[in-house]
Each structure stands twice: as structure tokens, then as C-alpha cells.
């Protein structure tokens, strides 16, 4: 019943943030370098095309989705003060994220197809374009799948952001800081250790790990990539993360500050 109202409330807040993020992004990647080149007198080195390629709109969007998830406690506080339950908050936030992904994805792809590709004459402007587009012979179907695929990637990014962000908000600020400091260290050590073992050990090269990775990526012996295994994987991951996020939302309560 209240889902509509809450969705409107969250959407209004977060679409404004998204707009601000894009403005900031363009300022940081296009305008600032230009000003710096101007000041340093090296304007001839400034290439708009280079700067635009460097603008990772998609990644930035993922980071924004993560950021709005980490501040979900602010919204929880306001909503519980106004008699809105946790499930309603969850449903509305998912709807809002869906809408933002739709908008963000459309914007990102429009930017890639209409601005980036004509400008830098590049074809591999994202993961899909560089790996999977060759699978489709019809350029229109390729475009549709690019849209779908990018959308799914954003969804997975958003959901990972939500999992991490909402997990963190269960804890006090102090514990949050500890987790934020300790996790990367532990993660780095683990990855470094595993990687060193894998690289040092030749036997790993052709094991099931590599085969599995190839399967997920859709690698064919012909050298082409098939996008469907990846799509299915993303969908499964999304469902699992969605369930985790729903659980995390149901555990939200007011912290003693």
C-alpha cells in the first residue's frame, strides 16, 4: 500500500544524486584535465577523445549504487519514524534501483553509441562489445543484447553494493571502520597467496578452475564468445544476492548512538 509513496520518496532523493554524480564525473574527467592543460600550457596534449574514453560511466554508476546502499540507514531512520515497515522499504528500494539501472544503462549506452564510438572510432567500448558482440550477426540484435547485458552487469554491481552496504549498516560506526580496514587487508593477503600458489603451480593451468572460468565466460574453441552462460550466471548471482539483501533489510534496527 505504502510501496508507491516510499518508491516516489526514494526515487526523488536518489535520481537527484545520480544526476549530480554524472555532472561531477564529467567535471572531473573532462573539464578538470582541460583546465589543468590550459594552466600548464600543454593544451596541445589534451585530447577530448582520450579523456572521454577514460570516463568510466558504467563503473561510476556501479559505485553510485554502492554508495546509496551504504547510506540506506539514513533512509531507514526516516522511514521507520514515519511508520514504514522494513519489507516495504526493501520492495521500494529494489523498484527504485531497477528504475535507476534502466535510466543509467540507457544513458551509458547512449553515451557509448552516440558520443564515444563516433568520436574515438572504437568498437570495444565495454565488456560486451569487446567479447560478445561478434556472436550476433545482426547488429540490431547485438545492440539489444548489449543493452540487456550491460543492464544485468549494473544489476549485479548494484546488488553487490547493496549486500556490502546493507551488511555494514547493521553495525555501529566503529565496527564499520574496523571491517572496512580489515577486510581489504585480509582479502589482499588471501588473493596474493592463492595467486602465487596458482601461478607457481603449473598443474593449475589446465584444471577444472580454468575450464569452469572458460565455461562461464562462454569461450568456444572457435575463438568466439557465447554470452548466454554469462547471462545465466549473472541472473543466478543476482537472485542469490537479492535474497541476501532482503534478509539484511529485515534485520535493520535503530542503532544506539
Amino acid at each position: 500500500m505504502k510501496t508507491n509513496k516510499v518508491t516516489k520518496f526514494l526515487f526523488r532523493k536518489q535520481i537527484i544524486g545520480l544526476g549530480e554524480m554524472y555532472v561531477l564525473l564529467f567535471a572531473a574527467f573532462l573539464v578538470l584535465p582541460f583546465i589543468f592543460s590550459l594552466i600548464s600550457g600543454s593544451l596541445s596534449d589534451y585530447s577530448l577523445a582520450d579523456q572521454m574514453r577514460g570516463t568510466w560511466v558504467t563503473a561510476a554508476f556501479g559505485i553510485y549504487m554502492f554508495a546509496i546502499s551504504t547510506v540506506s540507514y539514513e533512509n531507514f531512520k526516516f522511514l521507520i519514524q514515519n511508520g514504514v515497515s522494513r519489507p516495504t522499504f526493501f520492495n521500494s528500494q529494489i523498484i527504485v534501483n531497477g528504475l535507476l539501472i534502466l535510466i543509467g544503462n540507457t544513458f551509458n549506452l547512449a553515451y557509448q553509441y552516440l558520443v564515444l564510438m563516433p568520436l574515438v572510432h572504437a568498437k570495444n567500448t565495454n565488456i560486451f562489445m569487446s567479447s560478445y558482440v561478434g556472436y550476433f550477426h545482426n547488429p540490431f540484435v547485438g545492440f539489444i543484447f548489449n543493452y540487456l547485458f550491460s543492464g544485468l552487469l549494473l544489476m549485479v554491481g548494484a546488488l553487490s553494493g547493496m549486500v556490502i552496504g546493507n551488511f555494514l549498516t547493521l553495525f555501529s560506526k566503529f565496527i564499520q571502520r574496523i571491517i572496512l580496514i580489515v577486510t581489504p587487508i585480509v582479502g589482499y593477503i588471501t588473493v596474493a597467496y592463492t595467486a602465487s600458489r596458482v601461478i607457481l603451480d603449473d598443474r593449475f593451468q589446465m584444471t577444472w578452475v580454468a575450464n569452469f572460468a572458460k565455461f562461464i565466460l562462454g569461450y568456444r574453441s572457435t575463438g568466439a564468445y557465447d554470452p548466454f552462460p554469462m547471462i545465466v550466471t549473472i541472473v543466478i548471482m543476482s537472485v542469490v544476492m537479492l535474497l541476501i539483501v532482503r534478509y539484511l533489510f529485515s534485520k535493520k534496527q535503530l542503532k544506539r548512538e
Binding site: 526516516f78 521507520i80 515497515s85 534496527q253 548512538e257
Partner: protein
């Protein structure tokens, strides 16, 4: 008719029991006073009732329906508390707009009058409010949103004497115009003593008194006179406190007096809620025990 029921609510932080098996019923259109010393568990109880925090045990129901994760029931309550759940950067007008949308109504006429009377600048940001105006703003929301249960946790925190006076008058006006249930948690007992219809005393996470104020006052008796006579007269009664000046003793009895004859030297009168509260929550010992010696 809406009834708010709290049954078997228990909550602990670590090994500390903050609420122990709380059972309460809040009936329609009454004004409840939730009294207790600091740390008695008042705020925690209100927080559990409004589903801000989880209890370890028990449930809160409105009209026999659990309020947990229940939009329509949660929307029947508004808890005004010391904790600020509005973000500091929000403008007051925006908060009112959003609250109105989420609760589905807002009494603008009343709000405009209150804003004027209290002299609140509505174009500020929430974070810029002083302690007093912070309370006033939240009180205005509490009185103007369309809820059946208005929960006020220390409502006059930071308010000066004039604003307190104004608030109590407006509370009564609002209650008369639109009767609904109020639960007022406070340690300023004298200020609300005549306003509340029912009194609940919380002590160390337990309910130690839950009665209509009138019934409570009818059971309050002070017995004053020479020590010997007073002790004789109150022997076996529920003496909860005493005062001594020289040989004159005042014994404070909570409960019914039986039909024993009052000696000429001893005077009987009543005492107020504040005194009762102090005696009950001071864990008075040495009343009845002393009497038997």
C-alpha cells in the same frame, strides 16, 4: 476502537535486562503517563512498540494484529523521541511534506498556528535547530500527523517554562478537538500529574504500577502524628515511606486502610503522585520491617 497491547516483551543488551516481561494495554482516547527514572527502560519500550528495535521476546499488537513489519499498524503510531531520525540537511518544510505523504495526512491549520505560537522558523534545516526547537518541531509533527497513538518520549526536553506551558495547553486542545491515545514518557511528574488519566511506573525494566491516576491517589494516605501512635495505626499496612521531624512521624501508606479507629493525635491526608513515584522507585526498605519491631 483501537487498542495497543504489549505482551511479554523482554529485551536485553548483552547480559543487562532492559525490559523484563512487560505487559500493558493502552486503550483508546486515554492519556497515559509512562514514568520511570533514567535508565528504567522507558525509551527502549517505546522503541520496541514502534518496531524501531526488536525485542528478544513478546509481541506488540494493535487490534490483535502484530505491528512488526506491518505498514498499516505502524502508520497508526508516531513516536517523538530524543533520537533524531531526520537527517540534518533536510529542510523542515521538506520533512513535513514527506511525513504528510507517508502518513497520508497532516493538519496544516493546527501546524501553522503552532509554528506561529512557538515562533519556529520553518525555512531552516533540521540540523540547525536548537535543542528546544528540535523538540518543538517534532512535537508539532506528533500533534499534526493523523495517528491514533501519539507516543511522546520526554516531550518538553530543552523547552523553557513558557514553551512548556504552551505545549501542555496545546496538547489538551489537540486532544479535546481530536481525541486519541497519548503515551507520555517523562520524569517531570508534577507537570503531567493532572493531565494523565493513567499512570504506568517502570522500574529497572519492570512495570511496578499500572492504574488510573484517580485510583492511585485514592490509595495514597499519609498518616502524621506522634511516632508511637503512627506506628501503631499503620502496623501491617503497606508503608512505602516515611518522614521524621523530632518525634512527629509521617508514614506514607499505599493501599486501602482498614476500619481501625484513628487516634485523635493522628491526622490522615493524601499525598501526590510525585511522592508516590519517589517512594516506589527508591526501593524503600525499612517501612513494614521497622514497624514489626
Amino acid at each position: 476502537m483501537s487498542i495497543l497491547e504489549v505482551s511479554h516483551i523482554s529485551k536485553s543488551f548483552g547480559s543487562k535486562h532492559v525490559l523484563s516481561d512487560i505487559n500493558l494495554t493502552f486503550e483508546e482516547n486515554k492519556i497515559y503517563g509512562l514514568l520511570g527514572r533514567n535508565g528504567a527502560g522507558k525509551s527502549t519500550l517505546l522503541s520496541v512498540i514502534t518496531d524501531r528495535n526488536f525485542a528478544n521476546n513478546g509481541e506488540v499488537k494493535i487490534d490483535s494484529e502484530d505491528v512488526r513489519d506491518n505498514d498499516s499498524k505502524l502508520g497508526m503510531m508516531y513516536l517523538m523521541s530524543e533520537v533524531n531520525l531526520y537527517s540534518n540537511g533536510s529542510k523542515l518544510t521538506q520533512i513535513i511534506k514527506d511525513s504528510e505523504s507517508l502518513y497520508g495526512g497532516f493538519n496544516h491549520e493546527l501546524a501553522d498556528r503552532l509554528i506561529k505560537e512557538f515562533g519556529l522558523d520553518i525555512n531552516q534545516k533540521f540540523g540547525k535547530l536548537s535543542t528546544g526547537y528540535n523538540s518543538i518541531f517534532k512535537l508539532i509533527l506528533a500533534l499534526c500527523l493523523p495517528v491514533q497513538f501519539v507516543l511522546l518520549d520526554e516531550p518538553v526536553l530543552g523547552l523553557d517554562a513558557n514553551h512548556r506551558e504552551l505545549f501542555y495547553s496545546e496538547l489538551i486542545q489537540s486532544y479535546s478537538d481530536n481525541p486519541r491515545t497519548f503515551i507520555i514518557s517523562t520524569h517531570l511528574i508534577e507537570e503531567v500529574a493532572n493531565i494523565i488519566s493513567d499512570v504506568i511506573v517502570l522500574d529497572q525494566g519492570r512495570v511496578i504500577l499500572n492504574q488510573p491516576v484517580e485510583d492511585v491517589l485514592a490509595k495514597n494516605h499519609s498518616v502524621v502524628g506522634p511516632e508511637k501512635d503512627v506506628k501503631q495505626y499503620t502496623k501491617g499496612l503497606n508503608v512505602i515511606g516515611h518522614d521524621m521531624i523530632g518525634n512527629i512521624r509521617a508514614n506514607y501508606v499505599y493501599g486501602d486502610l482498614d476500619d481501625r479507629v484513628l487516634p485523635d493525635t493522628v491526622q490522615l491526608s493524601n499525598f501526590d503522585l510525585q511522592k508516590l513515584f519517589i517512594f516506589l522507585t527508591n526501593q524503600y526498605e525499612g517501612g513494614t520491617d521497622n514497624e514489626d519491631k
